[in-house]
């Protein structure tokens, strides 16, 4: 099934959720996060779509002014088509419904995105940091990330490009 057909199917079912955005490329659909769990269930179970595989879930920080984004790469083993879903979040309170129980791999993907960007996946049953220590401060892959100075008494040196050790 071609991308435009997939987009039309989603638009017919959830007319208010698809956001038109000219800056995104072919194969990407930006949607509103409020109905995300229903849309995800639809994407997985609709006989014409059958997206049975969540290939990747990652976060993107679009910069100081821009929002945080979650990006879901979906693939259908059955029908051999794929799309990318983009959901934008408010930088101050980034949250979206969890799809951990729809695609089980989402469990660790969401924990990783939460770890790196601080995006809260509501309804996730075990939303802890996955790579950083549990008591780490801040969200490392955000562009405004400030490194903490010490960690359990160990110095965390900040190194600037021109000055060397601070």
């Amino acid at each position: 099934m071609s991308f435009s057909e997939i987009k039309l199917l989603i638009q017919d079912r959830f007319p208010k959720s698809v956001i038109e955005n000219e800056n995104i490329s072919e194969g990407q659909i930006e949607i509103d996060g409020s109905l995300w769990k229903e849309i995800a269930t639809f994407l997985k179970n609709d006989p014409k779509l059958l997206f049975d595989q969540l290939e990747c879930l990652t976060g993107i920080d679009t910069g100081e002014e821009g929002p945080l984004q979650s990006r879901y790469n979906l693939h259908s083993m059955e029908l051999r088509h794929k799309i990318e879903i983009i959901i934008s979040h408010d930088r101050k309170d980034p949250k979206v419904e969890s799809i951990e129980q729809i695609w089980r791999i989402g469990d660790w993907f969401e924990r990783e995105t939460y770890d790196m960007f601080g995006i809260v996946y509501e309804g996730h049953r075990d939303l802890r940091r996955i790579l950083c220590p549990d008591d780490w401060e801040g969200w490392p892959l955000r562009k405004d990330y400030e490194l903490q100075e010490t960690y359990h008494g160990i110095m965390v040196p900040k190194i600037k490009e021109e000055e060397g050790w601070e």
Partner: protein, 163 residues
């Protein structure tokens, strides 16, 4: 050995206990076997048949209680730093640390932008020998271990304080 020379039968060696202790320590420092990154592969290669660490008296132990030397082989992340410190504290005295490779010595390729990497394992445990390389070849590690053995053999545990 001065006045005691030729006063005993053959096969009896006379020496000072001090030197004997440091000699026996230096010739069998068992190392604590744990790998953190790619350096661990070189460490395993060093301990395996071709380079054969047991010919210089070193064998890997899997428990800190049985080990004398800790080879920090690889990138120490902040999360791991606390564990490394705990493992070091669990080792019995006298204990020695070898920092193997760039990452353990200074943070290596994570030196500038690696927020999660400890910039040198000497920030948490005292290091005796640094082995440079990324990762060091087994020959380099053996050189470092021989340096450590030399350090140990120069110690005088009865008359001087163990460092």
């Amino acid at each position: 050995m001065g006045v005691l020379e030729n006063k005993f039968n053959d096969n009896i060696v006379v020496g000072s206990l001090d030197k004997f202790l440091s000699w026996s320590r230096s010739t069998s420092p068992w190392f604590f076997q744990f790998g953190l990154a790619c350096c661990a592969i070189e460490m395993m290669a060093t301990a395996a048949a071709r380079h054969d660490l047991e010919r210089i008296g070193m064998m890997p132990r899997s428990s800190p209680r049985q080990a004398d030397v800790m080879i920090v082989a690889g990138t120490v992340t902040m999360k791991m730093a606390l564990r490394v410190k705990k493992l070091y504290e669990q080792m019995a005295n006298p204990k020695y640390v070898i920092s193997m490779g760039s990452c353990a010595t200074s943070g290596g390729p994570y030196w500038q932008h690696g927020y999660h990497v400890l910039k040198g394992v000497d920030l948490v445990v005292p290091v005796d020998v640094y082995v440079p390389g990324c990762p060091p070849r087994p020959e380099a590690l053996i050189e470092g271990l021989l340096k450590l053995q030399q350090l140990i053999s120069e110690e005088r545990p009865l008359t001087r304080k163990i460092t």
